[in-house]
């Protein structure tokens, strides 16, 4: 008996997959992300269940809700008479099958709405991230290299304003200046409305106008992107400046940086090859974290700039009590957020092998 169990244990040990650090880290992170995703659906489900509005009346309208047959049918179809865990199961399997409910305002399936609005938001967010990272790293680097001099003070002011300014107000002020006063930039939208629409594109107007060979339209798209991405990027810019400054200051104190200087490398080379490379990890991580804030910020910015993306969709749903759409946006945005953080973490693991061992 004892021999049998120990032999079986040895067999199991031999059968177990070899411990591959990259694989096991990736699997662990994937599992965590999956659990978080489930948790998110649990919260959106709870919120929908908490709503004081009767879901039947909300979905069918007052008149149909007066007819007991229709109501009974609806309740049976959506499992509203079942206990809550069963309702959650119906909800969850529905989500997985792509049934995210109908939107009250557009009268289309929510998932279809989300997919058609997502490119506009992603284009705005990517433009913002690129700008915020480029300027944030440059300003943060300048602040660290010229510590307690003008660039440092300037960076500190931006970082402070970034956490103290309501971005929707900042957007309005920018429109007042650059549109109403100076007339340099448009006040909203993605492209000059008089221009023809490109049919069957990707929804990313920069790509679409380039592939259609329309430089005038591309120019218009770029001009429409300037104000929203600057405004959306303000708080992220402050964050990236602060992180870059802190991590560069830390790296600068290391012996290998001094060694680089000592062996005669120019300051530029040392900064590029030693300092920025060592800081890249923390900048990457904070950019991943900032992504969530940016997605959330689009709700405000798209409302100010009438940018036809997920944020404007969320705003319109919220103001018309269109719950399926709001929960859809919440789910969509939160899941993209945890996915981006998963990707960032995996990248970080490649950049910094020490992570795999923990």
């Amino acid at each position: 008996m004892t021999i049998g169990t120990s032999a079986r244990a040895a067999g199991a040990r031999a059968l177990r997959l070899p411990r591959h650090p990259v694989l096991s880290y990736t699997l662990r992170r994937l599992g965590l992300t999956l659990l978080l995703g489930l948790g998110i659906t649990l919260i959106t489900f709870t919120l929908s269940a908490l709503v004081p509005i009767d879901p039947v009346v909300a979905a069918l309208g007052e008149r149909a809700a007066g007819d007991p047959d229709i109501v009974a049918n609806y309740r049976a179809k959506h499992g509203l008479d079942e206990p809550l865990p069963v309702q959650y199961w119906v909800y969850l399997t529905g989500l997985l099958r792509g049934d995210w409910g109908m939107s009250l305002q557009t009268q289309r399936p929510v998932l279809q709405d989300l997919l058609s609005y997502a490119p506009a938001t992603l284009e705005l967010v990517f433009a913002t991230i690129i700008m915020a990272v480029v300027f944030g790293v440059l300003l943060g680097l300048a602040a660290a290299l010229y510590r307690n001099r003008f660039p440092d003070h300037f960076a500190r002011v931006i970082a402070l304003l970034g956490v103290s300014t309501p971005i929707f107000w900042f957007g309005i002020v920018m429109i007042l200046i650059f549109f109403a006063q100076l007339g340099w930039l448009p006040s909203g939208g993605r492209i000059d409305p008089t221009m023809p629409k490109i049919q069957g594109g990707t929804g990313f107007l920069i790509l679409d106008t380039i592939s259609a060979g329309q430089p005038a339209m591309l120019w218009s798209v770029m001009k429409h992107l300037v104000l929203p991405s600057i405004v959306l990027g303000l708080s992220t810019l402050g964050l990236i400046i602060r992180i870059t400054r802190a991590s560069v200051l830390e790296v600068l104190g290391n012996d290998y940086v001094r060694a680089g200087h000592a062996k005669g490398l120019s300051s530029g080379t040392v900064v590029r090859r030693y300092v920025l490379r060592a800081s890249a990890g923390s900048i990457l991580t904070i950019t991943g974290v900032a992504f969530g804030g940016l997605l959330a910020g689009t709700v405000l910015i798209e409302t100010v700039f009438t940018w036809p993306g997920l944020g404007l969709y969320a705003y319109r749903s919220a103001t018309s009590a269109d719950l399926n759409s709001i929960m859809g946006v919440t789910l969509f945005v939160s899941v993209s957020y945890i996915l981006v953080n998963l990707i960032v973490d995996l990248f970080y693991m490649i950049l910094d092998p020490r992570v795999r061992l923990t």
Binding site: P166, W169, E250, L300, T303, A318, T319, S334
Partner: protein, 308 residues
């Protein structure tokens, strides 16, 4: 202060109490000196002071009632109407002044409630550990998976649009940060000698939490809360701007900005309430930074170590 008063003077003799009073006075002097050495903190403190006066004397400072329609719509700033009038002919200055009562008071309520809930949960989690700790902290992780404004908007929209529900939504999205911070602090102190020794002397867990742990974690938690007031003001204003917070005709700053969106030629409607938000949020951020440096050099150092 209340924490110090809550400490039962069971073992202290009278000379020790006098000694403590002397130490308290010298500590206060010390703090005042340090404030004077930190100009940004002093600036933050003065701005908050000015707004406190505005809140208390709003009725005397504002020349008009916030919702009085004075018959002259969209008039630019003048001596009579310092910040101009809005589309309904209401005095923007009076509305900004009265709005401080809404924005500031509700933000402080939001932060206080979030701090209390988060502290209780964090303490339970950190002190008792085990399975409960695991469950509570995964719940906290879950809340961090949502972008703040999105979740707050979903909650506010689900509950129905009103200031109270916006505050409730704010509390729901804000408590996790306190729970996580407090838990970390409690875990750090749980095995400290002064805690263990009083447990060995027979102190129950409840008293151990109140007498030994609470005073140690109160400082960093209050610093976090101070900084959070700025964020709470922005969050509430954002929700009102999106139409799921304060409803018209309430003179809430975020709602006032959204009323100004459509009037590009009447810049004063949106600009002044926004400036009010910026000054308050800035002041609380300066206060929070200053407090952190002043009372908590340890936390600052530990954060620096963590980023290494």
């Amino acid at each position: 202060m209340s924490i110090e008063n809550a400490t039962p003077p069971t073992t202290t003799s009278i000379p020790a109490a006098a000694e403590r009073r002397r130490m308290k006075i010298s500590a206060t002097l010390h703090v005042v000196k340090r404030i004077l050495r930190m100009p940004l903190f002093a600036v933050g403190l003065s701005i908050v002071g000015v707004w406190l006066i505005v809140i208390i004397f709003a009725g005397q400072i504002a020349p008009f009632s916030p919702n009085a329609q004075l018959g002259i719509a969209l008039s630019p700033p003048s001596w009579e109407h310092l910040f101009g009038t809005d589309a309904l002919g209401r005095d923007v200055f009076s509305r900004v002044v009265h709005g401080s009562r809404i924005s500031l008071v509700y933000s402080v309520i939001l932060v206080t409630a979030a701090m209390l809930i988060g502290t209780v949960i964090g303490m339970i989690s950190g002190f008792f550990g085990g399975r409960l700790d695991e469950i509570l902290m995964r719940l906290v992780d879950l809340f961090f998976a949502f972008p703040v404004i999105i979740l707050a908007m979903a909650v506010a929209a689900a509950l129905g649009a009103s200031v109270q529900n916006a505050v409730l939504a704010g509390i729901i999205v804000s408590w996790p940060i306190y729970a996580r911070t407090v838990r970390g602090l409690v875990v750090g102190y749980r095995d400290a000698e002064f805690v263990v020794s009083s447990r060995l002397a027979g102190m129950g867990s409840g008293r151990s939490i109140l007498v030994d742990l609470l005073p140690s974690i109160a400082g960093p938690t209050l610093v976090l809360a101070t900084q959070d007031v700025g964020a709470a003001i922005l969050l509430l204003a954002s929700l009102s701007f999106l139409g799921v917070g304060a409803q018209p005709p309430m003179p809430e700053w975020g709602a006032m900005i959204s009323e100004g969106v459509t009037y590009f030629s009447s810049w004063w409607i949106a600009v002044f309430p926004g400036l009010a938000i910026v000054t308050v949020a800035l002041a609380f951020n300066l206060l929070g930074d200053g407090l952190r440096d002043m009372f908590d050099p340890k936390m600052k150092r530990s954060i620096q170590r963590k980023t290494k």
